[in-house]
């Protein structure tokens, strides 16, 4: 036998379990509805309680039992997981550590349990009634074991011994069910027994003997004083008194409040809804052409339903940003530890909903921005006190919806962006000419330029090879914008504006040659006419004058090599990506179009001008213009690229 003290091993295990509980609780605090986390906490507490009892930590086991019970209630939907509950269990978890170490004041535990009780007050723990049926007048028991009981390790003789130990009884074997010798397998058990107890034995005591085989065996157990032919059911359920069982409907309703669905199923559903919308618009076209009144009214009804279905579908993909924000608490906690600064993270508008894909893709940029605020924005406690600010720095993360966009701001009350240093750095890096005249916003936007970093030295926090330029690009890839504001000594604010969904956009449908294309409406600034005369005059140039500003433009007919003649009244659609603009010359503006975005095939990965495709009301396909790409093309007038497009078209 090993000399290692099992109690010591248990202490280590308990420590690990409590670490896990702490971690899960921290996560749970951010995702209160996460059933997996509730389960995880419950399991850990359950194990801790069990092991504690086994190794003589009775106080720990008893205390943990209450916490476990609380989580069991949450697990079963009888009580909600609340921030308060998480907080209580977090402090309880500290108390458990003390109990493991053996120096926990009892009063602490009682105070925590009192808080715990309050935290899960709705629906107090009712004991399950388990009435003891005393068979004062004795019992008649009749049983036959499962055929494979002996092979599976149950020895019938020992069960009979156990029954004898309960009290005086007579046992008679029933051998009528034994098969002929030819069919007999020696390890099978075919004998049944009739047992009569004369004295006072409880039903539970008798049933306990058969605990391992009861589910699979034949058994009747009847009080002796009952009518001889009366047979009671083999398992007598105690009266139901538990709240949970008394109202199964409310439990089911609670469990049904949210359903987890794999995202790909939503995507499939989205495709089907897209098809339906297309089929419906074909139907309404037909109904409009040669349909009778009845067909037209059915068609209109279907149009309404299809529209509602699509809107509902959009909502299904929306998740609250709370799932995103919650993940930053730990980040800020760690940043505070690593920088030695006191940092408080305040989050607002967690219920704001955004498309699931958007939420996922916002994570990395937000991590970077928050790191930046904590690392560069906020001062040390000493500096803050000297500047007359509260010792703890504040990072405020907030979200709200504005129209079709979600606006996310990261605000800190730190020192603000040092404009002089930004300028010096930009000049040193050749981003701007020395002494160049810049607007304030232009100057601040320089921090998003590739390779720019305002940190005097790269710290281990921010120096991860990811720059603000990557943040900006990610936001733009979400068709969003990023703005920065800063007041010296008071802090800076980064504002992200992101469309609510990636799956659908408002588009401007245009015609170029014979093809139809979608311009994302969010990037359209204005639409102008370009007369044939003006067109000819500007033929040799690639710039037009727009309100005294020169704007480069692209003739999409040329770029796409349509080989068609221009319409007499072409249009210029002026699009922008934040600061940069370009005019797109098209033949016709068809109108607004709500666009369900379909990804381009991998076979078209080398085609850069389009970000996706969409299906039109008539079933045709239109390509969605990649504005960032076109603006870059327009700005640089990459000749070789254009020639390739011409040659290839």
């Amino acid at each position: 036998m090993s000399a290692v003290d099992p109690v010591a091993i248990f202490r280590v295990e308990a420590g690990e379990l409590l670490d896990q509980v702490e971690q899960d609780l921290l996560d749970l605090g951010h995702r209160l509805t996460d059933a997996a986390l509730v389960d995880a906490v419950f399991r850990s507490l359950h194990t801790l309680k069990g092991s504690g009892a086994m190794f003589g930590f009775d106080a720990l086991a008893a205390f943990t039992h209450h916490c476990e019970t609380a989580f069991d209630r949450v697990r079963k939907g009888l009580a909600p997981a609340t921030a308060e509950l998480v907080a209580v269990i977090l402090s309880a978890q500290d108390h458990m550590r003390a109990l493991v170490d053996g120096d926990a004041p009892r009063a602490d535990g009682d105070a925590i349990l009192a808080r715990l009780e309050a935290a899960i007050a709705d629906g107090a723990d009712l004991p399950v009634g388990a009435p003891v049926v005393a068979g004062g007048g004795g019992w008649r028991l009749s049983f036959a074991l499962p055929v494979d009981a002996m092979a599976n390790g149950t020895n019938p003789l020992m069960l009979l011994d156990e029954l004898r130990e309960l009290g005086p009884c007579t046992i008679v074997a029933r051998t009528d069910t034994i098969p002929p010798l030819d069919d007999l397998t020696p390890t099978d058990c075919h004998i049944g027994w009739d047992v009569t107890f004369a004295g006072a034995v409880t039903r539970e005591a008798i049933e306990d003997v058969f605990i391992f085989v009861m589910d699979d065996m034949e058994m009747t157990l009847a009080p002796l004083d009952a009518a001889a032919d009366e047979v009671t059911p083999d398992v007598d359920l105690p009266p139901v008194t538990d709240v949970a069982r008394a109202d199964p409907v409310s439990v089911a309703a609670k469990a049904g409040e949210s359903v987890r669905v794999p995202a790909e199923r939503l995507d499939t559903l989205m495709d089907r809804v897209g098809e339906l919308v297309i089929a419906q618009s074909r139907l309404s076209q037909l109904a409009g052409q040669d349909g009778g009144l009845a067909l037209r009214s059915v068609s209109e009804e279907i149009e309404r339903l299809a529209g509602e279905l699509r809107d509902t579908m959009m909502v299904l993909r929306m998740v609250p940003v709370a799932t995103l924000f919650g993940r930053f608490r730990r980040l800020v906690h760690d940043l505070a530890r690593d920088t030695g600064k006191a940092i408080e993270l305040v989050t607002e508008g967690e219920t704001t909903e955004v498309d699931k894909t958007v939420v996922e893709r916002l994570f990395d940029p937000l991590v970077h921005l928050i790191r930046n605020s904590c690392d560069h924005g906020l001062e040390t406690a000493d500096q803050r006190l000297a500047a007359g600010k509260p010792e703890a720095g504040m990072v405020r993360l907030s979200a709200h919806q504005a129209g079709g966009e979600v606006v996310i701001t990261i605000r800190d009350d730190g020192r603000g962006i040092d404009r002089t240093r930004v300028r010096a750095k930009a000049e040193a890096n050749g981003l701007i000419e020395p002494g160049a005249v810049l607007g304030d916003q232009e100057l601040l936007q320089l921090i998003f330029a590739p390779g720019f970093s305002t940190a005097a030295q790269v710290t281990n926090l921010s120096g991860r090879g990811v720059g603000m330029d990557v943040v900006k690009r990610t936001i733009e890839s979400l068709r969003g914008t990023i703005d920065v504001a800063s007041i010296d000594g008071e802090g800076s604010t980064i504002t992200l504006r992101i469309p609510l969904t990636l799956a659908i956009i408002e588009g401007l449908l245009v015609r170029v040659g014979e093809g139809r294309y979608v311009v994302p409406l969010a990037s359209v600034e204005e639409c102008l006419e370009l007369s044939l005369e003006e067109d000819l005059r500007s033929r040799a140039r690639s710039l037009i004058t727009l309100r005294d500003q020169l704007v480069p433009f692209l003739r999409l007919r040329d770029l796409f090599a349509t080989g068609t003649r221009p319409d007499p009244w072409q249009k210029i659609v002026v699009v922008s990506t934040g600061a940069e603009r370009v005019g797109l010359v098209v033949d016709q503006i068809i109108g607004n179009h709500q666009t369900v975005i379909k990804a381009m095939s991998p076979l078209h990965r080398d085609v850069a001008s389009f970000s996706g495709a969409t299906i039109m009301g008539d079933g045709g396909v239109a390509l969605i213009l990649d504005i960032a790409q076109l603006v870059a093309t327009g700005q640089s007038r990459d000749q070789s690229r254009e020639e390739r497009l011409r040659a290839a078209g």
Binding site: M1, S2, V4, P6, I9, F10, E13, R43, H46, T47, K49, G50, S51, G52, A53, M54, F55, A61, D148, M150, A151, N152, G153, T154, N155, L157, M158, D161, E162, T187, I211, F212, D215, D216
Partner: protein, 122 residues
């Protein structure tokens, strides 16, 4: 002759607890850390009782029980598995695999000894 019991569990502290409880009750105890080790031990020695956890790395308890019951030499050897209250389905599966009985975790050493006496009769 004292009965020899094999305990199969991946948690060293639990194995230790089981060993202490059973040795104090006069049994001889052998240990295995997972199902694979358990099968190997059972092939080498005929045990009077096997006590096994269900969740284990390499080979879980269910698989081990099934494997054991395939061997004629293991017919009739009582197998007790350790489970938690939440594993109602697990209980049924383990019974179907050929287990004799179970012990719900957490348990105090006395319960284990009681069960050992129940199935061993000594």
């Amino acid at each position: 002759m004292t009965a020899t019991i094999l305990t199969v569990d991946d948690s060293p502290s639990l194995r230790m607890a089981i060993r202490i409880a059973l040795t104090n009750a006069g049994y001889t105890v052998a240990e295995a850390g997972d199902g694979v080790e358990g099968l190997a031990q059972a092939a080498a020695t005929r045990f009077d009782l096997i006590v096994t956890d269900l969740n284990m790395p390499n080979m879980d308890g269910l698989t081990m029980i099934r494997e054991l019951r395939k061997q004629p030499a293991q017919a009739g050897v009582p197998i007790i598995f350790l489970t938690t209250e939440s594993d109602a389905g697990m209980k049924a599966q383990a019974k179907a695999a050929g287990a004799t009985g179970w012990l719900v975790k957490p348990f105090v050493p006395d319960q284990l000894v009681k069960i050992a006496r129940k199935v061993l009769g000594r």
